[in-house]
Amino acid sequence: MIAATLAIVVSLFLIFVAVVRRGLPAMSWDMVSKIPGGGFYIGKEGGLLNAIVGSLYIVIGSITLGLCFSLPIVLYINLYLPEKSRLAQFTRLSFDVLFGIPSIVYGAFGFTIMVYLGLRSSLLAGILTVTMLIIPILIRSIDEVVRRVPKEMKDAALSLGATRSEIIKVILRQVAPGIITAVLLAVGRGIGDAASVLFTAGYTDGIPTSLSQPLATLPLAIFFQLSSPIAEVQDRAYAAALILTFIVLILSLAGRYYSRKYSKNKI
């Protein structure tokens, strides 16, 4: 049993070692500060700035949009519905199930919507698809913290004459660290996912200046440039893998830190 546990831990380290060993020599300042020069399959100069900025755009857009949807839903099923309500349970179940739907299906769905609306592959379509992907994650993890808010807190606010919608402020203040943890989790998933944006974001060497332009993301940069026969382009892919791994590692550590901080302030 200890061997099995060790095997899992070791495999994690093997992944890190493999990615770092190949990615580190390829890293340089140019890599993170320049966009690739001339055609992404053949251009030897330049770096990954387009993919880094593209990933940031996508994540910022979709987190904002995702919170606009997930916060009201979570608050509704926790504040307005009775504890054992069928609707609340069904909502939780349905988001648990949606959480399991693979990103390629979201990508295909996003693509059909895109074609239906007559959009080209663009930043907007990418943001929408990633939003669909992360809403279940946001809802599941925010719901977990909102559910743990003590009932007395709501009762106290209600007895002071607040309406239910005015309690929202109290609850949001209480669960703010939990929301940050949820957001970090969602950022990790959203930034690393390639299959959903493969259809919808397109790929380009430039940095998008409007919502209707295509863009590159880090996972796509890895996926496309890895198959290139030119060593310099492949280097870019491995450097992107290294960057992505470290972003995810930092997000995971930050999430832990915040949730620990949160559990300290338990009432």
């Binding site: 608050l75 349905s94 648990d96 739907i101 693979p102 299906v105 979201y106 493969l198 996972p219």
Partner: protein, 303 residues
């Protein structure tokens, strides 16, 4: 007078916010239905032309001739998933038992964050690892003992990468299930003179069997839908693999690889959307069943 007006305003605000949130919730519930319907709508053209059964059992995939047989892709998916489960299930079961029943809290504190990190690593990075480490290992070290030649891009490589990917999911659900088991059961068994291992075998695992099965189904459905990592290491040849060293072409990889040209060949997009629909329906069903089982367990044990 002003006070009454102000309270009216507050009541109106309450009413507006409440209903807006209700509407959002209801809309979100129809989300899965909308995905299903729109994928179905897109795949209708090919379903009109051929029966579902002939599509699923067809062996030849020649989009230019209008032949769309999904059988090689379905077999590819099944092979890769099977290998992933064979590798990861024993690992997860053993380390899940160890972490929840035997391990010192200190070890738990060390290992849990690592499992979290493993869960957070993006599929593409798993794919990069597969190309850097797993594929050369298979083609240089492993395959020469068994077959004459293998590029390494094979069912086995996909299975190994996928196994590592589903471990975090499976192990965390396992630990949750073991944790939900009432402590009294273990104490009763121990007090009758059973050793800890006997207790684990005869009480803990048996009592939580349905939950474990649900967790495995959950992991299987995750493995079914995994795209990029598998696509990068599987070789992508549209034939039914004959051994684990042959390349395979799983269903999600098919969708991801061909989206570019699907608009230019007739029926191609319908075929791809049909495969997305298949994935969606299968995974939806698997997920719903296992989540229901898990919810029931939670309710039964949380007395």
């Amino acid at each position: 007078m002003d006070r009454i007006k102000y309270n009216k305003y507050r009541q109106f605000k309450e009413f507006a916010i409440r209903n807006m949130m209700l509407v959002l919730t209801i809309i979100s519930l129809t989300f899965a239905v909308i995905i299903g319907i729109s994928l179905y709508y897109k795949s209708v053209p090919i379903l009109d032309q051929q029966s579902l059964w002939s599509l699923l059992s067809g062996r030849s995939w020649k989009p230019l001739k209008g032949e769309f047989g999904f059988f090689p892709f379905i077999m590819g998916t099944l092979w890769v998933t099977l290998i992933a489960i064979i590798i990861s299930l024993p690992l997860c079961l053993l380390s899940g038992i160890y972490l929840s029943e035997f391990a010192h809290p200190y070890i738990k504190k060390m290992v849990y964050p690592m499992i979290d990190v493993l869960a957070g690593i993006p599929p593409v990075v798993y794919g990069v690892w597969g190309i850097l480490a797993v594929v050369p290992f298979i083609s240089d070290k492993l395959a020469p003992h068994f077959v004459e030649y293998s590029t390494g891009y094979s069912v086995l490589a996909g299975g190994i990468v996928l196994a590592i990917m589903i471990i975090p999911l499976m192990i965390s659900v396992f630990i949750e299930i073991f944790g939900a088991l009432p402590g009294g059961l273990r104490e009763a068994s121990l007090s009758l003179g059973a050793t800890q291992w006997q207790t684990v075998k005869k009480v803990v695992v048996r009592k939580s069997f349905s939950g474990l099965a649900a967790a495995v189904v959950l992991a299987i459905s995750r493995a079914f839908g995994e795209t990029i990592a598998v696509l990068m290491v599987c070789g992508n040849v549209a034939e039914v693999p004959k051994s684990v060293f042959d390349p395979a072409y799983p269903l999600p990889a098919l969708i991801a690889n061909n989206y570019g040209e699907m608009m230019s060949v007739p029926m191609y997009d319908a075929a791809l959307m049909l495969s997305a629909l298949l994935l969606f329906v299968i995974i939806l069903a698997f997920n719903a069943i296992s989540r229901l089982v898990l919810i029931r367990i939670e309710r039964n044990f949380a007395l």
